[in-house]
Symmetry: C2
């Protein structure tokens, strides 16, 4: 069977406090579909964050001195910069319109992944990333396994990240459950030459990117994609497995 990326249509705009697991399960059932053993469900960060109420009213944020300095350098709203700093371990680069940080979750991304695009229909609310993305993925997994009476589901929360040397964003995993995000092929026969592999594949990120093609191509929002027939290593993986240790980082 070929690998398929099935969009889940009809998911309404998510509001803070919504039961995302139930809403998605209902949308899946409504189109006559159900989750199966081995499926990977990829969920856009935005709907997880919204359901978890990660919306901040900028009018409640008082920028500190560091945020004020950085706001001038980046030409950004000082209140937004204050939030970026609170969400980050370290600022890596600053340019007008762009602050590249190591997020508290450990990955490098622009503007701490904070979405400032008219979240509640005004310019005064922004959306932070989920507080504990692995935990969010684990809870969605638990609920969906229960609802669909299955034992082997993987869940990935994805977001779109820019890259250092390439243009265009790609989907990456920012939280996951039920899988090892890396596939270690070292020692396996080589794919094309029948020789030995030296590769560790970023499978969760590749699945996050595949889902992102489907999410990005719809005119209406498709925040959830079911990937069927993907081979991956089931298990208790974490976002942490995907993060390059600081000691191996050549580009900071």
């Amino acid at each position: 069977m070929p690998l398929t990326c099935i969009e889940v249509p009809g998911i309404p705009l998510i509001q803070p406090g919504d039961d995302l697991a139930a809403i998605v399960a209902e949308a899946i059932t409504r189109v006559g579909e159900h989750l199966r053993e081995g499926d990977v469900v990829v969920v856009a960060q935005k709907v997880v964050s919204k359901a978890e109420g990660r919306i901040v009213d900028l009018r409640t944020v008082s920028p500190g001195p560091d945020a004020r300095v950085l706001a001038r350098e980046s030409e950004k709203d000082p209140r937004l910069v204050e939030l970026i700093l609170r969400e980050s371990n370290e600022v890596l680069r600053v340019r007008p319109g762009l602050i590249i940080v190591e997020h508290r979750h450990g990955f490098v991304c622009a503007n701490a992944g904070i979405d400032h695009s008219n979240v509640l229909g005004d310019e005064e609310h922004v959306l932070l990333l989920p507080a504990h993305p692995d935990r969010s993925a684990l809870e969605l997994r638990r609920r969906w396994q229960e609802i669909f009476a299955i034992d082997n589901l993987a869940v990935i929360i994805n977001d779109s990240h820019g890259r250092a040397w390439r243009l265009g964003t790609v989907g990456v995993a920012i939280g996951l459950a039920g899988m090892h995000p890396l596939t270690d092929r070292r020692g396996d026969p080589d794919l094309m030459g029948r020789t030995l592999q030296v590769t560790v594949i970023g499978t969760a990120d590749e699945l996050a990117a595949a889902a992102s093609v489907v999410m990005g191509q719809a005119d209406e929002g498709i925040p959830v994609v079911i990937i069927r027939e993907a081979r991956y290593q089931p298990g208790e993986g974490s976002l942490k497995d995907l993060l390059r240790p600081r000691a191996q980082d050549l580009f900071r």
Copy 2:
């Protein structure tokens, strides 16, 4: 229809001089499949390079002084390092076992993408990237459009690249034809919030990653994957469209 990644089984080990387009077309036909309008065919770099005879016998390579210095620093074979330098515009970072360069084709990658994994069953032959990957993609496209009597095919040549801050390789496009690799959503309604997008999506790289999941999950080699029902912008795109201009590069 869901997005589907269809593997093309039964492609034999490719040899220098092989007619790759014909071999792949035959393999597609043999399983009762055919290419359709709008399909994206993703081809692993390795088989394109092999068909184009990009194999080098290290015994024919004389390392120059720069290669000898860099070989000590990287603990690599000086002859291999000589090839890495010839294939590159610039060396970015060096560590034992690793030379990160800007390839002549313009992208940043490890060891100039040269494959040293027992290419001809010995340690003395290595495989360079295709000399002109966009041109290779264009020629495959022309041939397949002719063979299958279609007008709208996209072809991506993919390779697996590491990332600066994340572990695991992901499939990326190193050559393409028949599509614009970026999807510009700026000004479009937002996917989840019905507001305005500020995103340019790296669609060709996301498709390259999706195909890589299928290529990587087979025990035998699957060097060609057909992606069906992906929406992308047809047109005369190039790898160049995916490369971040030097002036915007914050991490060199």
